[in-house]
């Protein structure tokens, strides 16, 4: 199983959860020598201590050659790929109309093209295993979120999920998504700088990374065989109700 951007946050929780369930894990991080690499090393040791195989692959999904190497390394070291989790994301935090051209390019190159590069490079291995792809989305794909241009890329990718579910059907590869609400990860630290008083939302509306990971594990398993091209919302009901009782 390969999880892009898995050193921290949701990706890290997915890696642990799936390792606990018996998967060998390829951990991917973008930047060598930083805190992501250190976090990946710690995660790798943790998974190995569970008795599973864990490898670390440094790769920037925005760079096609880097993605090729990511999948080559995964193939060489894990031998097979049953699940690909598209979790990596990278984006500036500012309103869309203020994005510079280079920021727009980076936004698309990582969060759209990069994910598609990963899908393309995974196909031969996933076809062999009749494998699964799970894309990690967020509510920013459907609702306004301050200074969050990434939401538009998440929306595009949810469309890719629907499209690819049909075109990959003949290869017996399934693809679905998991759309998180307000998940308390490192990215939340960014969100709270643009969303005044977000800390005052009731605790019951915050999603734990582990709750995302549970749904990803389900979608990676045989019990999800009836689901195709869907993006399942995991938001503790945040997007389900206009009504909030006072104090909630």
């Amino acid at each position: 199983m390969l999880i892009t951007g898995s050193s921290r946050g949701i990706g890290n929780a997915i890696a642990r959860k799936c390792a606990e369930a018996g998967a060998d894990i390829a951990i991917n991080y973008r930047r060598a020598g930083g805190t992501s690499q250190a976090a990946s090393e710690a995660l790798c040791r943790e998974i190995q201590a569970m008795g599973q195989k864990a490898i670390m692959v440094q790769a920037d999904i925005a760079v096609k050659e880097s993605v090729k190497k990511l999948f080559q390394d995964t193939a060489e070291k894990l031998g097979r790929l049953d699940c690909l989790v598209l979790n990596a994301a990278r984006a500036p935090f500012k309103p869309i109309h203020k994005l510079f051209e280079r920021e727009l390019k980076q936004l698309v190159e990582t969060n759209y093209m990069g994910n598609i590069f990963c899908i393309q490079e995974s196909l031969s291995m996933l076809e062999e295993s009749s494998g699964k792809i799970v894309f990690i989305s967020s509510l920013g794909s459907r609702f306004y979120n301050p200074a969050y241009p990434l939401g538009s890329m998440k929306a595009a990718m949810e469309s890719v999920v629907r499209d690819s579910a049909e075109t990959l059907r003949e290869k017996k590869i399934s693809i679905n998504g998991v759309c998180g609400g307000i998940v308390k990860t490192d990215s939340f630290k960014v969100l709270r700088q643009y969303w005044d008083n977000i800390d005052m939302l009731p605790e019951e509306l915050f999603v734990e990374p582990d709750e995302m990971a549970d749904v990803v594990l389900f979608l990676c398993g045989p019990e999800s065989r009836g689901i195709s091209g869907q993006t399942i919302v995991v938001d503790k009901g945040l997007s389900n109700s206009l009504y909030r009782p006072s104090g909630k």
Binding site: R31, G34, T35, K94, K98, F100, K189, Q193, Y194
Partner: protein, 187 residues
């Protein structure tokens, strides 16, 4: 106005605490000249975390964007970073005014991705002090002129207790850029 209720020592103490908690490094590794990226392995999200902790500690808003982004927002895309992602002559001239001449790596053609490595413990502390020194002379609520602090990090009005309303970090950078432009006519 310049204030003297929150000391530079207090700022450094809170900054070190934020860095230790975010990056999980030993406090002994943190010197004024320490680069958070090169010496402590910080990444972009780590800066946001450190900023957030400082904001909580002092009740103010750090800059969300670096000087280069502000230059381009004011003077247009390409004014600070060229199409190859490298610093322009004008960007370097501006950054040298901000960071001093004593930064040898700061040259036209420097890759924009290398710029964040120039952020040191000292430069963050200075950014915090600049914000704290934007303390208005009068309370915005009752116009009283006396500020006080109970804990050495949060200022409040000595009369009505209203928290101090500092300028935010981004506005201060923009203000600084206007002043630099007026004096040097770079752009």
């Amino acid at each position: 106005m310049s204030q003297n209720l929150i000391t530079e020592e207090k700022v450094m103490e809170e900054l070190k605490k934020a860095i230790v908690e975010t990056l999980r490094v030993d406090e002994a590794q943190i010197k004024p000249e320490t680069s958070l990226i090169n010496d402590l392995g910080a990444e972009s999200l780590d800066f946001l975390d450190i900023n957030y902790r400082l904001e909580q500690a002092f009740g103010m808003k750090m800059a969300r964007h670096f000087v280069l982004e502000h230059i381009e927002e004011i003077y247009g895309e390409g004014s600070a970073i060229d199409e190859n992602g490298q610093l322009t002559d004008k960007a370097v001239e501006t950054l040298k005014i901000r960071f001093g001449e004593n930064v040898p790596e700061l040259q036209p053609g420097m890759d924009m991705d290398e710029v964040p490595a120039m952020v040191t413990v000292e430069s963050i502390a200075k950014g915090v002090m600049d914000i704290l020194n934007s303390l208005p002379a009068n309370c915005t609520k009752c116009t009283h002129t006396e500020w006080q602090t109970d804990n050495g990090s949060h200022l409040k009005c000595g009369s009505c207790g209203e928290p101090a309303a500092y300028a935010n970090g981004d506005d201060l950078i923009k203000e600084w850029l206007s002043k630099v432009q007026a004096e040097n006519n770079i752009f």
